[in-house]
Symmetry: C2
Subunit: 418 residues, 2 copies
Amino acid sequence: MDIKAYVLGKATEAREGARSLARASSQQKNAALLSMAEALRKRAKELIRENAKDIRFAREKGLSRAMIDRLTLTDKRIGEMAQGLVEVAALPDPVGEVLRMWQRPNGMTVGRMRVPIGVIGIIYESRPNVTADATSLCLKAGNAVILRGGSEAVHSNKAIVKILREVAQRQGIHKGAITFIDLVDRTAVMEMLRLEGIIDLIIPRGGEGLIRTVTEHSRIPVLKHYKGICHVFVDRDADLKMAEDICFNAKVQRPGTCNSMETMLVDKTIARRFLPDMIKRFRSAGVLIKGCPETKKIVPAVDAAKEQDFYNEYLDLVLNVKVVRDIDAAMDHIARYSSAHSDTIVTNDYAKGMRFLREVDSSAVLINASTRLNDGFQFGLGAEIGISTDKIHARGPMGLEELTCTKFIVLGSGQLRE
Amino acid sequence: MDIKAYVLGKATEAREGARSLARASSQQKNAALLSMAEALRKRAKELIRENAKDIRFAREKGLSRAMIDRLTLTDKRIGEMAQGLVEVAALPDPVGEVLRMWQRPNGMTVGRMRVPIGVIGIIYESRPNVTADATSLCLKAGNAVILRGGSEAVHSNKAIVKILREVAQRQGIHKGAITFIDLVDRTAVMEMLRLEGIIDLIIPRGGEGLIRTVTEHSRIPVLKHYKGICHVFVDRDADLKMAEDICFNAKVQRPGTCNSMETMLVDKTIARRFLPDMIKRFRSAGVLIKGCPETKKIVPAVDAAKEQDFYNEYLDLVLNVKVVRDIDAAMDHIARYSSAHSDTIVTNDYAKGMRFLREVDSSAVLINASTRLNDGFQFGLGAEIGISTDKIHARGPMGLEELTCTKFIVLGSGQLRE
């Protein structure tokens, strides 16, 4: 089989789908999304049957329990997937919005109009729900999607795509709007990444390895949801009760997520007052503490943190604790070790709060709030396709707006260039 | 010499410069820009002396007259370069602007703050003025710049950078803020393009070959100023006098620029009335016309256009003319052949104007105005670093705002994730 020709064929179909979808009305897109949700719920048995093939194969291959869990579709999970589509349908359509218009001295009116990006390639790993989630967001923003899921979930993904496509076409959406690469061969991904001019944007969803491979080989712009090495700095002027609650929430509420805290920085002035109770509370929740030498002086029973630990995204109940001289030392630490994802200061000092807000360069910088709040829903943007740690195009939670671009529009009356 | 280590050293210096520059006040940046302008004017002799070396070498190498002209610095050109810096100093500083803030049900306030991107690599060809232009825009937006100019202009570029750096440092700007790679070896460019995580963005300025090479090899996001295959569609409901003026301006006012018209599309209903006079006017201005068969029927003396011609960016007094059935045929032609740069419709029909505005997917879509107006100054954005034909991050004229990104800021009072 000619993989190159196969992928090019799929991408060309997506290109045609994109041109058609760009003109679809909000009503048409929303009707399609709601019908898709209904169809997923109705045909849950069919999905679970196909999913069983992936699970059997995963067991034969000896995949971990966690991996198999991520792969598994249940009635409940299918219901959540469908509910996701309903929620995306309810979001305002970003396409066609005119951001601002202004008049030039020569009388022409200039503005920016939000338009779809075009064809978005999604390269993802085991979770089959990404198929529906990513498709719904891309479609609502008027983009065609070209999906390439992990080989472990190929039967589940194919079954989901089949349903989504059938429904979409019945609602008058071009079949190229939802395109699926069902080759498990890795060459297919490499071929996708070469199609600049046909695919407009690549969004990888998965582990660090996948993201590195994609970034290294892509000639197409890539929007990355990368790792989160997030910090909370407890300043000497913090309300220590608030600081304790924020730090506990940032670490423990859901440790496996990218916006949970990996390192707690504590001003030395209040370290003796703050650390013993805080660490006790962490330990009672099963958190393993790795402390700097100062921390060990105050709470000797903690493990010793190594330099390398501060670069680690644990995604687990493990926490680095470091005592720092002052806010400058805290910001220096963050500049060095942070993945520029989510960083919080807890303080009641106005000037230090403002300095932290201005000088820390992360996708979200927070005063007196948990890092766990860096999230599309929490910020009020609606569903998100990831949290970008890039600085180009999108930074922080990527919602529908981040799946669009703008074009300039000019309303003239015969203006010429002098 | 270890090129890899050299480039990495330069980029690391730029990284430090970026962190320092991000905190510089507008006053400090403006003072530096004004002093730079003064120094360029004062030290024009020194620049012209160094420039003479490049010109001598270019003559020995037998470069074309046009190339040597682009390379040449005169008092007048140095004055214009300095004036450019003065104008950038006068523009509003985009850094620190808070775009919007809103309150969430849990009481936290969320907003977006404009911040510098970080380190921007500029890879450019022969014109030495790019050194000062690009540096001033990057600096004003709080970014460190790492410059890699063409080998033909190396003495001129070094002399300009020397002056800019000296002045900047005297004004308290970190020396890493303006970094210059003075290796003519091409490997240096390849090494730059690998430094993802240190350099945040690459902007190539030059011909198609340079842009292709950069895009193909870069692991860093690239913002491209690519070719302009621009169209004017003269609808059957156009004011034909206005259409004639717009088409003439779009082609003739400065044919060597990316936003000049390469193909004129004419509705068949008015082709017999419009084309004879229009073509006569073009020819009297020295424009070579390549017409479709319909055009040749109306004005037999024109050359015959080949399919390939419609993909051509002439940058010269050459124009394709095609008679089309209606607006749909015009938009199909544009979807196929346009480089999505600047496309105009001339019409007095409201519905067709609105359809064109919505459905044509180019960096600027205009009604009743010359394509030549797609420009940062003309749109009122101030100086530009190019016109992006990309869809990611920036589209159309790229001014200071396009050299920034945003971060989310959160003002909390103890909010946690539930």
